[in-house]
């Protein structure tokens, strides 16, 4: 089977869009949220959010322009970084993973419509596949397009399938995008579930309250040929559905453990082969327990160092599969595996102890885990070991 190399990457998130700068901020544990007002039901309080800096998106036309500007710019940087020619990009497949897809524009349209309009979505929906089609057209990509909507595992699943298709020779290379922009449906939806942390993000911490959402776009170019000997490879992974409950996983962590174990098996690895784990670490009281129970079941006494990196960029929902990958591989390429800001007190219920200082490491096998609504569990392993 073919190897799958990550040969290009582009990222836009609350820490900016310059990779050097973003990783320098991660190294220095910089986390920056803005307070967004809750504007419904005559309430007046705020919730933190990780917003991409500098943008005017009040009107629909400004928002639409901004939406595609962020997307195109991020994909452009990934393609440029890959060093591939226009001809080589032409036969890429395109994978797009998102939870909200085009909801930011759609809700703005809905807001502006007459109050008695009904069945508007049925009348106006352009379909989930629209955005991937527009990206393909913009960059002259002629391969097949796939849009994944598997909640917080959307773009992680894109990476898994893109790499499987390259391995089996079904495609030669792929552009994989994770993108979620701020939308009120998601922001108010999570607030309605009482899942948003009002203070600082603190995954696995005893005093954690919930998630802090963020927006961002990440794009990687995968290829069976590497650009340099330092390129990371996607080795393998696994995904499965925990059918315990639509919003929460089985708190014993069995299904999470199974996915981690399957991912290891698909790489012919034992637990000792993993140098560090990026946990999903949403900061939700229930999910962190479940995730860590799953990790304990899978790793036993050989628990590798692990972190949660959402405190840097927020929970970028469907986009996190690609965005968090870029942050991890670019950090390791610069000699460290990032720490977990916000973690201060051990939760005795689970005794999870994520790393709180950057771990010095330049080379290794790294597991990245993602879990989401709809029972989705995805785990994949990347490596830059020779």
């Amino acid at each position: 089977m073919e190897h799958v190399y990550i040969r290009g990457r582009g990222i836009t998130c609350s820490l900016g869009s310059d990779v050097e700068d973003i990783i320098a901020r991660v190294k220095n544990k910089e986390c920056k949220t803005v307070d967004l007002p809750i504007r419904i039901a005559s309430l007046s309080y705020t919730r933190p959010y990780y917003r991409i800096p500098g943008s005017d998106r009040e009107s629909l036309s400004d928002l639409e322009k901004y939406f595609y500007q962020v997307l195109f710019d991020t994909v452009y940087r990934a393609i440029e970084d890959s060093g591939l020619t226009g001809k080589e990009i032409e036969n890429c497949a395109l994978f797009f993973g998102s939870t909200s897809i085009d909801m930011p524009m759609f809700e703005k349209t809905y807001k502006n419509l007459e109050k008695n309009s009904t069945k508007i979505l049925s009348y106006e929906s352009p379909g989930y596949g629209k955005i991937a089609g527009i990206v393909a057209e913009r960059f002259n990509v002629n391969g097949p397009c796939y849009t994944f909507t598997t909640a917080c595992t959307s773009s992680a699943n894109c990476l898994l399938y893109a790499s499987s298709m390259i391995k089996t020779g079904q495609i030669e290379r792929a552009i994989v995008i994770g993108y979620d922009l701020f939308n009120e449906l998601g922001f108010y939806g999570f607030e309605s579930l009482k899942l948003i942390e009002p203070g600082a993000y603190k995954p696995f911490d005893k005093n954690r309250i919930g998630i802090i959402m963020g927006e961002g776009c990440g794009a990687v170019v995968l290829d069976k040929l590497s650009k340099s000997k330092h390129d990371f490879r996607i080795l393998a992974g696994s995904n499965a559905c925990d059918t315990f409950n639509v919003t929460t996983h089985n708190s014993q962590g069995d299904d999470i453990a199974q996915v981690i174990t399957d991912a290891l098996r698909n790489c012919n690895f034992s637990v000792k082969d993993i140098d560090a784990v990026k946990a999903h670490a949403t900061g939700s009281p229930v999910n962190d327990v479940t995730e860590y129970n799953g990790m304990k079941l899978a790793f036993g006494d050989a628990m590798p160092p692990f972190n949660g990196i959402k405190p840097y960029i927020g929970h970028t929902v469907g986009a996190c599969g690609v965005i968090e990958l870029i942050i991890i591989i670019e950090s390791v390429s610069r000699g460290f595996f990032p720490s977990t800001p916000g973690f201060e007190s051990v939760d005795d219920e689970i005794d999870a102890r994520p790393i709180t200082e950057n771990l010095a490491i330049r080379e290794g096998n790294f597991m990245l885990n993602f879990f989401g609504f709809g029972g989705n569990c995805t785990s994949y392993i990347v490596s830059n070991k020779e």
């Binding site: 419904i40 909801m103 089609g133 909507t149 499987s164 391995k167 079904q170 499965a240 559905c241 609504f373």
Partner: protein, 290 residues
């Protein structure tokens, strides 16, 4: 990929979902509450597909959809912008279309992979490709691949999208599924190949050189105009055309219906299903019915 079951469920646009709930009870005793039309359609199709069969607890689910859950998304926007209130939690959760594939997996008691995928005009075919790569990688031994969409109501949207008169085809709700396995024993047939082409000439060359032994049934996606169908029919030796659109109606992942109906209706035939997306790409599916 061997086909061990197929369902081709369509119905007139549904206003009262209780009717769907009642119909579904014929096929499963799974207790469902707080589900919406999209989820019920998904359950209806998949339970018809596996009715009377025993499936593996690790079967994978690939739900292909063009539009996903329209109804609950609309409800949440209404709550936010018309009622000025927070979304109701279950409405919000159901806005995520992968809740449908979750309920499919939960009702089937399978804990395999559960994917919701979309691709303009060719979502079902892309779902099959995901299953295909998982079979090739030996990640799965059984899969359920379905195409589910609510009916399209917009005259303007329909006409703009397909350059067809609104009443040229009946618009229906649909949920059609294939039960696939890696083993051949007892299979109805197989998905022999799926391929994407950027030009019609390349697609024709591939189709006409495909090794096919049984008589061919040709069938077309909605974006293939009548004039082009005639050219295909001349170029590709076939026994008959299966015009499922005229016979049964249209929903956005109707390719799943065409394929499932083929397995239901024919024996010892080969289906060549020719689909096209708005970018002008052709996706060709070859199915063999034993």
């Amino acid at each position: 990929m061997y086909v061990h079951g197929a369902s081709a469920f369509i119905c007139e646009p549904v206003d009262d979902i209780n009717r769907l709930k009642d119909d579904l009870k014929q096929y499963t005793d799974f207790f469902f509450r707080r589900v919406n039309k999209f989820i019920l359609l998904s359950l209806m199709g998949v339970h018809q597909c596996i009715y009377g069969k025993s499936i593996s607890g690790s079967s994978a689910v690939y739900l292909a959809t063009e539009n996903g859950n329209l109804g609950d998304t609309e409800n949440v926007l209404h709550q936010l912008y018309r009622e000025n209130s927070f979304p109701k939690p279950f409405n919000f959760i159901n806005t995520m279309s992968n809740t449908a594939s979750f309920y499919v997996a939960q009702s089937l008691k399978t804990r395999g992979r559960s994917i919701t995928v979309s691709s303009k005009n060719v979502s079902f075919e892309r779902g099959l490709e995901l299953a295909k790569v998982d079979f090739e990688m030996n990640h799965i031994t059984e899969a359920l691949v379905g195409g589910v969409d609510e009916a399209v109501f917009s005259r303007d949207h329909f006409m703009k999208k397909y350059e067809k008169a609104y009443h040229a085809v009946k618009l229906v709700e649909g949920s059609s599924w294939l039960y696939l396995a890696a083993h051949r024993d007892g299979a109805l047939g197989e998905i022999a190949d799926i391929k994407t082409f950027n030009s019609r000439d390349d697609a024709v060359r591939w189709v006409t050189s495909a090794p096919v032994s049984d008589p061919i049934v040709l069938s077309f996606g909605i974006l293939i105009p009548p004039s082009e169908k005639e050219i295909w029919k001349k170029e590709c030796a076939h026994e008959e055309e299966f015009d499922y659109l005229t016979e049964h109606g249209y929903y956005d992942t109707v390719a799943s219906f065409a394929v499932s109906k083929f397995f239901e209706r024919y024996t010892r035939k080969v289906l060549i299903y020719i689909n096209k997306n708005i970018q002008g790409q052709y996706v060709i599916l070859i199915c063999v019915r034993y």
